[in-house]
């Protein structure tokens, strides 16, 4: 079957025939309508009305089938499903997206390595330390995520319970530093291999030896005692630690990529022209290296291009020219420049052939043109291949560069935090490292059990400074001198001699607080030392919801 209808020798339409179809309004009107969104589709292949009718038809059928189904389907009572499992996670940060950020490290499984967290803590991963969920060893790169919680604000934001349940006896933890470490490969959690351990040197501002090591077992939903840590004095300057930055993942030299090597231009052979017998021609030898396109043919003559048939160059022949130059032009003609003393002549010429030389030149041209096309074909292929290789390399580099920029940005942010953290620790009495090894990823805490504050017992209620009743969540009593947060239930006790404050959350994530000064203002004589007092705490609240841990630190720091 014919794919194409072939017309041979059929003339193009006449101007008058075409004029019948020429009307700018045929274009301009639909253009205007398309701009006002009316009926553009009508002018573009007429598909809209058809499409609309299909849509309308479909809608009618759908409504019809819905009604039929509604009438025909017997009513079945669906069993009511009751959720019986408690799904609240054990670690439940009180404010979404407000938590201590993880710092990420990449570790090559077969090499292991030591990494430094922004506080200066060191994490040492041994070689071949990882297994997957099936218990099989893994290779390649693993992403480690690590963060620490050192003060009231960080512990508050973490949502990690500081209550310790020992055989039903609940007490609270005072922390000398808590950290969380997790690891992933391709976003899937990985675990520490059997008989391997990850060493942690966690910086701490508490050098006392009364602290034990606990692991947060989220499946048992409790802290589990894991022994004792070792305390090492850290002589380093914290600012030095702050300046310790991981190296860039990509070297500058990796970014530079030379452009693909250009294949030299292949000269197209010039089609030989027939000599015009009415015009003057001349002969002269050309350097075959300078003019290879001419050198391929024998017996070339040069014909004047820019002169009429009456041109008589006889005057040119009478002189012995001192210098002759031939310059190739883009249109396959040449300029011949003749110089004799001060006289200069310049003429446009082109190579011509006659008789048998022309026949020879023509057949040579055919061969040369074929060779030329083949060479051109090869060149195109090669250039295409090189371009593709180049584009691929370029894309790889760009991808790496993107990763590098993201990495550097992250590092810059971490460094900012690091400096801030180091500066915030200037009041620390001493800095030590609490050293321990872990065999399970998760949350680890250097803790000492601490008794809940005793003193005045109150049934607490809360109100705003405008005397409006206040409902608080995540309410804690905090003694400034103890690194612990004590959850407040309706009835709690506080030590009137301690520097206390209360923090909690008010919808929507505003921080409510009762400061040590507010505690000082409580009229102690009105509260019974023995027995239960009813007391309403008048809370201050932030104007806006809390958006970062730093914000909590700043507010608490001022209390």
């Amino acid at each position: 079957m014919s794919k194409f209808k072939i017309n041979i020798g059929k003339p193009d339409p006449s101007e008058s025939e075409m004029a019948q179809y020429k009307n700018f309004d045929y274009v301009y009107k639909p253009y205007q309508e398309s701009q006002t969104g009316s009926s553009y589709g009508r002018y573009l292949n007429g598909s809209t009305p058809k499409f609309l009718s299909i849509l309308i038809g479909t809608t009618v059928i759908l409504i019809g089938s819905y009604l039929i189904n509604k009438l025909m389907t017997p009513k079945v009572e669906q069993p009511v499903q009751i959720e019986t499992t408690i799904t609240t996670p054990f670690v439940n940060p009180p404010i979404e997206n407000v938590n201590v950020a993880f710092q990420e490290f990449e570790v090559d499984v077969v090499q292991g390595g030591t990494f430094t967290y922004l506080s200066g803590s060191k994490i040492t991963i041994p070689v071949n330390a990882f297994i997957n969920g099936n218990g099989n060893p893994i290779l390649g790169k693993v992403t480690m995520k690590y963060r620490e919680f050192h003060d009231h604000a960080e512990i508050f934001a973490s949502g990690i319970t500081m209550e310790y349940d020992s055989a039903g006896l609940v007490s609270d933890f005072e922390s000398a530093g808590m950290m969380e470490i997790i690891a992933f490969q391709n976003n899937t959690p990985v675990y520490i291999a059997k008989n391997k351990k990850v060493d942690i040197e966690m910086i701490s501002n508490n050098n006392e030896s009364r602290f034990n090591l606990y692991y947060l077992d989220t499946s048992q939903r409790k802290w589990v005692y894991k022994g004792k840590d070792q305390i090492i004095q850290r002589p380093e300057d914290r600012m030095d630690i702050a300046q310790e930055l991981p190296q860039s993942v990509l070297k500058e030299s990796d970014i530079e990529l030379p452009l693909p090597i250009q294949i030299p231009i292949i000269n197209e052979p010039i089609k030989p022209k027939t000599k015009n017998k009415n015009r003057f021609t001349f002969i002269f030898q050309v350097d075959p290296k300078a003019f290879p396109e001419i050198a391929v043919y024998d017996s070339v003559e040069w014909e004047y291009a820019d002169v009429g048939d009456n041109f008589d160059p006889q005057g040119l022949y009478d002189i012995t020219w001192q210098d002759v130059k031939l310059i190739k032009q883009e249109d396959n003609t040449y300029i011949v420049q003749l110089t004799h003393k001060n006289r200069k002549e310049s003429h446009k010429v082109f190579p011509v052939y006659s008789g048998k030389d022309l026949e020879k030149a023509e057949s040579k041209y055919k061969l040369k043109y074929k060779e030329y096309l083949k060479a051109l074909d090869k060149k195109e292929e090669l250039e295409k291949q090189r371009k593709e290789e180049y584009e691929k390399k370029r894309a790889d580099i760009e991808e790496k560069e993107k990763e590098r920029i993201a990495y550097l940005k992250k590092q810059a942010e971490l460094r900012r935090q690091q400096v801030k953290w180091a500066n915030a620790q200037t009041t620390m009495v001493s800095t030590v490292s609490r050293v321990f090894s872990i065999m399970t990823f998760g949350t680890w805490n250097c803790d000492s059990r601490v008794q809940r504050p005793q003193g005045i017992k109150v049934t607490a209620s809360f109100k705003t400074i405008n005397n409006e009743k206040l409902t608080l969540t995540n309410v804690y009593l905090i003694d400034k001198k103890i690194n612990a947060i004590f959850p407040i239930h309706e009835i709690f006790s506080f030590n009137p001699n301690a520097e206390n404050y209360i923090v909690g959350l008010v919808y929507p994530n505003k921080l409510a607080y009762f400061s040590p000064k507010d505690f000082d203002r409580i009229d102690g004589y009105k509260l019974k030392k023995v027995g239960l007092n009813n007391f309403t705490f008048t809370m201050h609240t932030t104007e806006k919801p809390i958006s970062s841990v730093d914000e909590i630190k700043e507010i608490i720091g001022k209390l």
């Binding site: 794919k3 051109l376 074909d377």
Partner: protein
């Protein structure tokens, strides 16, 4: 049957750039460009449709699409007319894809002779008929190259501009099609 020359002097190019800019600001000004290129686009389409009414419709579509997309057109060495030819080829292809009809090829006898010579074959009635049959085995883009080069006598540079390929690539592709035709004719 030869093509309109695509290439212009620097002054003509500048004038055209100005016309395009004016049309971008005021669509009514597009009429100048419409009048300038209507006939050559109409002929270009009619050679491939052999139907005046259809050619009229497709020509209007080409100019409408050009108007709608004029803001996207930027002069980067490719003449405005080449851009119109590109749209025209796309519209013709779309029409025949949707309508499943055979499109037309318009040529002169001498064109066939030129192709046969290019294929280094001796011209004869038999060869001519073999060549016409061989056209049926070409892909659309291969036929377009033959049409532009041999039936419309366009330079490789123009072909490159219309088909969005390099001049060298146009040469190579035409050479490959000639080779293909030669092989089909022999088989």
């Amino acid at each position: 049957m030869s093509s309109q020359v695509l290439h212009k002097t620097d002054q003509q190019i500048e004038e055209e750039k100005l016309q395009i800019e004016l049309a971008k600001q005021d669509p009514k000004q597009f009429e100048t460009l419409y009048n300038k290129y209507f006939q050559q686009i109409f002929i270009f389409i009619n050679r491939r449709t052999d139907n005046l009414d259809l050619s009229g419709d497709i020509t209007s579509q080409v100019f409408l699409k050009a108007m709608l997309n004029l803001n996207k057109y930027q002069f980067k060495g490719v003449p405005f007319s080449a851009w119109l030819y590109r749209i025209a080829l796309s519209e013709i292809n779309q029409h025949y894809r949707e309508n499943q009809k055979n499109r037309a090829i318009s040529l002169e006898e001498t064109d066939l002779k030129n192709i046969i010579e290019e294929a280094e074959e001796n011209f004869s009635e038999e060869k001519t008929s073999a060549l016409i049959n061989a056209f049926q085995q070409l892909e659309e883009d291969q036929l377009q190259l033959i049409e532009l080069r041999f039936f419309e006598k366009r330079s490789f540079k123009e072909i490159g501009e219309i088909m969005e390929i390099t001049e060298n690539n146009a040469k190579v592709k035409v050479y490959r099609v000639i080779d293909k035709l030669k092989n089909i004719m022999k088989s």
